[in-house]
Amino acid sequence: MADLEASDAPVDALVSGLEGFGYVASRRIATALYLSLRLKKPILVEGAAGVGKTELALSTSQLLGLPLIRMQCYEGLDESRVLYEWKYAKQLLYTQLLKERVGDLLEDAPSMDDAMARLRGVGDMFFSEDFLQPRPLLQSLMSEDGCVLLIDEVDKTDEAFEALLLETLSAYQVSLPEIGVIKASTPPIVFLTSNNIRELGDALKRRCIHLSIPLPSAELESRIVEKRLPDIASQLRGELVAFVQELRHMKLRKPPSISETVEWAQSLLILHVEELGVDVVRDTLNVLLKFESDVEAVEAQAGDLVRRAKATR
């Protein structure tokens, strides 16, 4: 962070910094990240599955040398799963202990009122930090030296949950009724990712830097593959990227995204393929495409697509 501030071109510094950890970022991604760090605002990352939303958070945590706290969202996620729970079992155990000791404790209490007061003092103890089980959101606020908090697939939760996030993400604090306000000493760096399953509320969006990651250009994709698989022959790399780019123009149920390209490149590498051929493509299409109907559609045109991929390269 410190050297970022000092740098003349912080955005470029971020690009190369991330690249050091295997993440090839476009300038827009780096700019968004830079602003999110500068303005201390959460960053909302949208885009199709597999374009590197989660990766961005992972690489950022590595780059900044901060621990990553990951919170996977799903429908029905509620406060107790993300903020805190009480350690019921431990409380129960203490209740038992207390029961046995209650006689000793109250033995010399002069009056009923006095006895009650003593018991109340013991009761309050049950809802103290000793019995608190922090969940990711609270953990991220409590981490002393800061951390990267990844709230993954936030669009899978329902709206009530968003409201909870609003409170936490705007002030980096949360109030627990039994204990009081817990405020982060170092605000976490927050990434929210969304696949656009549901339109997120305006209030949440307003509090975030908004980044949408599109499918990459051929040039960027080629660099990403190179970064991930340095061993791959440049001819094959060019051809397979061109091929994938072609596929994205077809009407498919799930066009391949970066993670599929990388996976495919890896498979080809394992198979010792040196250049793209119709047969190899047919045999490995299922790595690239996730629906049978897509595979069939592409198979029918495989020859043509391979030819074009070789030509555009």
Partner: protein
């Protein structure tokens, strides 16, 4: 016009750009504009790519926003010569009057010329442009600000005096200025006006007497109704979610507490039963109310997603089930078919009620809201009040929407006062706004 009078509070290129974005349909909240200012402070104006990226990630909140943002950014920052007041050319040295500017144009320092034009444009308030018809007025004002009239007079005098040897050159320079100014104004209209005009039109339509909506506005009105329906739908679904958690379920909580010596660690909540409204719509499509009926049909058609059951009937004198038509067809086709098959007859509410009672009465139960849309003009026939009464007792409520104003209820052949007595509620719905309000009330659940 006095300098400074029309200049917006926040100055500088960013203020103008934010305004342009708003006019392009982006919602820019105060929070985002603060972000934008901070972002610019962080990255500066130096690198255009970074500036664009930085503004985009702070201001655009969806993919659609992003597309609009890109367009706007290109148009604004590539053409917009807007010198910072404090930094750029000092004002007093600027030759804005008459021959001075003309001379400048002839000798041609293009940047200075553009600067002059955009300053003149700003001082006549070009940013407040709202409609495209203001174009010529604005062009005229800017030319006046630049001193064009004086220049014209001067040239005319020289022509009279026979000393205008370079007339052609003057003319070329003049044309160039005029076309530059026109381009500036067009760009402003492009940036600022199109969306405002659209909004004003929508507001006007929503408040207008439904009967007065002209055929050429009909498409726009239908679009508006669908927008309203969408808003209602989302409001309603949110309400439903909020209602899901109910009261504490004491019995279950106690049972769960048994293994923990009766300490209720786990609380259980009773699910609140969620009311899913059912609607039956009886729509008078006779000549007198056909206009209003169309819009109710559109609204109902678009509300399908929040309402579990919607039965739509249309009648003049005979009543027809038109639900299928609404389900199967594109909205325009559907309405046209409804109108062709049952519309434009002479009304008999009595007959229509009798039809309904005979064939569809079982559809009505205590969850059903029955909406009747019509003017209640029964052509002096039997109003069949007892059937309406029966429907009301069997349904949750009967809401009568009348496009006529309340003061004409009961005049002539209107049975409205009687029908009103047998309805749970009777309201005028003269405009689309009123229509939306009534439906919204009904979706809000039990009364």
């Amino acid at each position: 016009m006095i300098e400074g009078q029309t200049v917006p509070l926040a100055e500088g290129p960013l203020a103008g750009f934010l305004a342009a974005l708003r006019h392009a349909g982006l919602t820019i909240s105060p929070a985002s504009s603060i972000d934008a200012y901070e972002a610019v402070a962080a990255v500066g104006y130096g690198d255009r790519e970074i500036l664009r990226d930085a503004l985009c990630v702070t201001l655009a909140k969806s993919e659609l926003d992003e597309a609009r943002f890109e367009q706007c950014f290109d148009r604004y920052f590539s053409h917009h010569v807007e010198p910072d007041d404090r930094a750029a050319t000092p004002r007093e040295s600027a030759p804005t009057s008459g021959g001075g500017f003309a001379q400048l144009m002839l000798t041609g320092d293009a940047v200075l010329v553009d600067t002059q034009i955009s300053r003149a444009a700003r001082s006549v308030g070009v940013r407040e442009v709202q409609y495209s018809f203001q174009r010529n007025i604005l062009v005229g004002r800017i030319l006046r600000e630049l001193g064009m009239p004086e220049w014209d007079r001067e040239v005319a005098q020289r022509v009279d005096a026979g000393t205008a040897e370079d007339l052609a050159e003057w003319q070329t320079a003049r044309d160039a200025i005029v076309s530059k100014v026109k381009a500036v104004v067009d760009r402003q209209i492009d940036l600022y006006a199109s969306n405002a005009a659209q909004q004003i039109r929508e507001e006007r339509l929503a408040d207008m007497d439904i009967a007065a909506i002209r055929p050429e506005d009909r498409q726009a009105a239908i679009k508006l109704v669908r927008k309203m329906a969408k808003a209602l739908a989302s409001q309603h679904s949110r309400r439903r979610k909020r209602a899901r958690r109910g009261q504490l379920d004491m019995r279950k909580t106690m049972r769960q507490a048994m293994p923990h010596e009766g300490i209720p660690f786990q609380l259980s909540w009773k699910q609140k039963s969620v009311d899913r409204p059912k609607f039956i719509v009886l729509c008078d499509v006779s000549r007198s109310v056909v206009n209003a009926a169309q819009f109710l049909l559109v609204l109902m058609y678009s509300l399908n997603e929040v309402v579990d059951q919607l039965h739509a009937f249309a009648f003049s004198d005979r009543l027809e089930d038109v639900g299928r038509l609404l389900d199967d067809n594109d909205i325009d086709v559907a309405i046209e078919r409804v109108l062709r098959e049952v519309g434009f007859g002479s009304t008999s509410y009595g007959d229509a009620f009798a039809d309904f009672a005979e064939r569809y009465m079982p559809l009505v139960d205590r969850h059903t809201s029955v909406i009747i849309l019509g003017d209640g003009r029964n052509n002096y026939g039997d109003p069949q009040l007892d059937i309406l009464d029966r429907i009301r007792r069997q349904a949750r409520r009967v809401v009568w929407l009348n496009p006529e104003a309340e003061r004409s209820w009961g005049t002539g052949d209107s049975e409205m006062p009687a029908y009103r007595r047998f309805s749970s509620m009777a309201r005028t719905c003269g405009s689309l706004n009123e229509l939306q309000a009534v439906i919204g009330d009904m979706l809000r659940g039990p009364r």
